[in-house]
Subunit: 527 residues, 2 copies
């Protein structure tokens, strides 16, 4: 049952007087529940509890953390239809998407459970002593990754489950041994509260310390600002706009003790279509990309916002088909009137730039909160000189850039901002003739895709979801996959430390049988 | 031969008119050579060359990078006595130290050469395709670490070789595939130029692109500011003061495209001496710590600046012995009159605080630029309330804090700023009775040491040199050891990418026979 209250540790709390409601974009009405913004006192309590919880939670075994993470997954499933219904009522997204995202969220929790249960993720490294070494004895030094401290996670508007309350950031931080305070996204505060209740239930039944998780409501920016500024908070995870992510990054960098912020922000996900592919399958590509551009009403961070080709019949065929096919797709609902409003503003801004041509613009009337998709084309030289056209239009909209030459294409790619993904579409091994373009693309992105679409982020160890700024604030980390745990940990060395005082992962016995680097060699044995 | 010129790539350059000289603190005179500050044009050229060099250098094989790194080591040795003499004349440090530091520098270069020649450091991760997976085909995804781009390294005053021109930051960045621009430390610009000449010679003879390395002279802050602000620079390494490191961090964070700064800054390296150990060997500990406090005239970032004990006879014996023994040690030269000046100012500031007692204060006359070492004691409650006493006094000086109780000790440790190291001195397994103190200490440091001294940083894979702010600006990375390469790289994923276009580390054949995570299992085989 949704109460609208915050979870301050395991206690429901509504000390404040400022309230807000979520919105059902399909019905174009406010939802029933009233949510209470957290007060200063509640924020202070949540951080105090998290700091206290860190003392024990940072040291519990991987096996116990796995039990906790798996229990969260079970409790989310136990929420049953109520979760799916709330999700749909707060996002306008269909039931299938809700269930798919729930599956992904559960899969993420379970993969982190498996990771910490196995235990090798701590990168245990051991160099044993050489007391007889000359001119100086070599000490025994052992190193592993340890949790940073309490983490604040900001839920994403477009992934109420997989990138929000119990999403990838939270799962990775809990797996690392860091307590988590979620600043729930106000557009789906009910979904957030339900998931928070599942986490709290799992924490209680598996004996985790109170404060290992809190869920904070707020519809403004003040609460988030207070959380990120709090000295007890040691790192921040965020998924959202460049403006929002950069504001948090600036805040965190300007603290007396600066803390890491991993913000996954904007991306236009450039797609380069090479001539043979356009010639052979321009029409097919038009159909496929009409689908990718409109998938989830274009509300994915991997939405293909920019498509590049060399001028010619192949590119023209592609543009024509893309324009025709996208207009065949039924308009879909956006997450919230505010997101639709931003989409319309940004789309109009792009369309109104000089020397652009609108290829497709869904102009029939649509239901309230439904997006009218569109495709624009522009010549390479115009694009190169107009930074407005480089900016993300969050929604079902894309720009096709018609380049005069390979050189111009390479120049344009080199001058793009950092991106999550870059895609190359090629036939007959023509990719080998575009080394400069591909090298430039690699230098701007976190993931390269060949003959596919950027939408769809496979959750697996080799996935990188991140990229050069502004795709993320720190390209050295991924937000998806098991390695995303590295955002929330730091190395810790123990020199000549008594075996019995060492973390079990570094003890001679290697009772967990994890893989360790012992005197330069990987080993599962004792040391 | 020292020319005083900058290396802009492989070209010697002195376009500017502002000059400076280095200083011989032992002789208390300026050294002969005149150094030319780099101009805006020279800085611009260095970054342009580095950006161009990155295109090829980022893609050359580990084997070729190893040849380059080993050639740098050889060329540094080939500088022979000229390097050692210049080093001594610019630092006042003895020949033995110079040779030891040269050995360490060469060792670091060779260990990075071995790392990249072997190749597994790229953390290659492969998840092969499952075209028949339902409901959706799984793509082939492969990930590895790739270099960030041109790196700026600021040389350290106290390690003219091991943490400067060809020191750990530079070796790690070159190993990663990043071109390096060194902002040479003005106190040892001659040493810097000689080492730079060795790097340039190695680059030329091993066929590295021009611009893979530049060496920039400057005695002020303007040149460093310009380098860190330049859009072509992608990360920064720094070793030095909190003030300097924080200024660079702020600059980098406020860029339009923020970039990572790894600054290794101040640390007072707390040492906790437990009662049994003090009782059994207070006198011995006094002798050992007199040596550690004055080692290298106290000019190590791991110098023990704070020593904690519980009041009692053992602690009193230790303090008496420490005071006596430290006065038996001959005063030694500091690196530069400015560093001596700061030492005297900071020491006087500490000594003049209320309710402190000076235990030892070398008061006899000393030679110009020689430091007068000292030891201060203070009660726990006074220390807790006076932040001035928590600050680093860079030089041969330490404060012994006499605590009333274990609780007070734990409170004091919990309230310390972040540190590189924390040391526990214990006998008869008494360490097991101080879990709270030790947990608090671990939470404030990057390395724990048992029954030893913090000075001496073993260069090995399990070393962590870094720690919570302000020990470093990002506790998630080490500045020493092979894993310090991770500061300069980012993950890059390739989805359904043609095998022949993949980096060799990710190709099916695994021709380098590196260790890879293939479908969740570590393997040296092909995939």
């Amino acid at each position: 049952m949704i109460t609208g209250k915050n979870y301050i540790g395991s206690s429901k709390s509504s000390k404040g007087t400022i309230t807000f409601k979520t919105f059902n974009p399909q019905l174009n009405v406010e939802n029933e529940n009233t949510f209470f913004e957290a007060t200063n006192t509640e924020i202070e309590e949540a951080v105090m509890l998290a700091s206290a919880a860190y003392k024990s939670f940072s040291k519990i075994s991987g096996v116990r953390k796995a039990v906790f993470l798996n229990a969260i997954a079970d409790e989310i499933l136990n929420l049953g239809d109520a979760l799916i219904e709330t999700y749909c009522s707060e996002t306008g997204l269909p039931e299938g998407r809700a269930k798919g995202e729930r599956g992904r969220t559960i899969g993420q929790l379970k993969s982190f459970a498996a990771l910490v249960e196995e235990g090798s993720w701590v990168d245990a490294t051991i160099d044993t002593a050489q007391p007889d070494r000359v001119p100086m004895a070599k000490p025994d030094v052992r190193k592993m990754l340890v949790p940073l401290g309490p983490i604040v996670v900001f839920g994403a508007s477009n992934f109420p489950l997989a990138y929000s309350t119990a999403g990838g950031d939270t799962a990775a931080a809990l797996a690392a041994g860091c307590p988590v305070i979620v600043k729930s996204h106000p557009m789906h505060a009910g979904t957030g509260e339900l998931v928070a209740s599942a986490i709290i239930k799992a924490a209680v039944t598996t004996g985790m310390p109170n404060g290992v998780f809190s869920n904070i409501n707020s519809s403004g920016i003040e609460v988030g600002t207070q959380l990120v500024s709090h000295p007890g908070v040691k790192a921040v995870g965020f998924t959202g706009s460049i403006k929002g992510g950069r504001a948090l990054y600036d805040l965190a960098s300007n603290r007396e003790e600066p803390i890491p912020v991993f913000a996954e922000m904007g991306s236009v996900n450039p797609v380069v279509m090479l001539p043979s592919a356009l010639k052979n399958r321009g029409v097919d590509l038009g159909k496929v990309y009409a689908g990718s551009i409109t998938l989830g009403t274009g509300q994915f961070c991997t939405n293909p916002g920019l498509i590049f080709g060399l001028k010619g019949d192949g590119l023209s065929d592609f543009i024509n088909t893309l324009g025709e096919e996208i207009l065949k797709i039924d308009p879909m609902c956006m997450l919230h009137p505010n997101i639709l409003g931003a989409y319309n503003t940004n789309k109009e801004k792009a369309v109104s730039q000089n020397n652009t041509n609108i290829v497709a613009n869904y102009s029939s009337d649509v239901k309230d909160n439904y997006a009218q998709h569109g495709v624009l084309t522009v010549d390479g030289d115009v694009f190169l000189q107009n930074p407005t056209l480089h900016q993300e239009v969050f929604g079902p909209f894309s720009i096709v850039v018609q380049c005069d030459s390979t050189e111009q294409l390479e120049t344009i790619i080199s001058n793009l901002e950092g991106q999550l993904t870059g895609t190359v579409i090629a036939d007959n091994q023509e990719e080998f003739n575009y080394n400069g373009v591909i090298a430039a693309l690699q230098n701007r992105v976190g993931r390269l895709i060949f003959n596919g679409v950027p939408t769809g982020v496979e959750v697996c160890p080799s996935m990188n979801h991140g990229g050069p700024y502004p795709a993320s604030t720190d390209s050295r980390f991924t937000a998806v996959g098991i390695h995303s745990i590295k955002r929330w940990v730091r190395p810790m060395s123990y020199q000549d430390w008594p075996n019995a005082l060492l973390p079990v992962e570094l003890q001679n016995e290697n009772s967990m049988e994890i893989t360790r680097l012992v005197n330069g060699e990987l080993s599962n044995n004792n040391s």
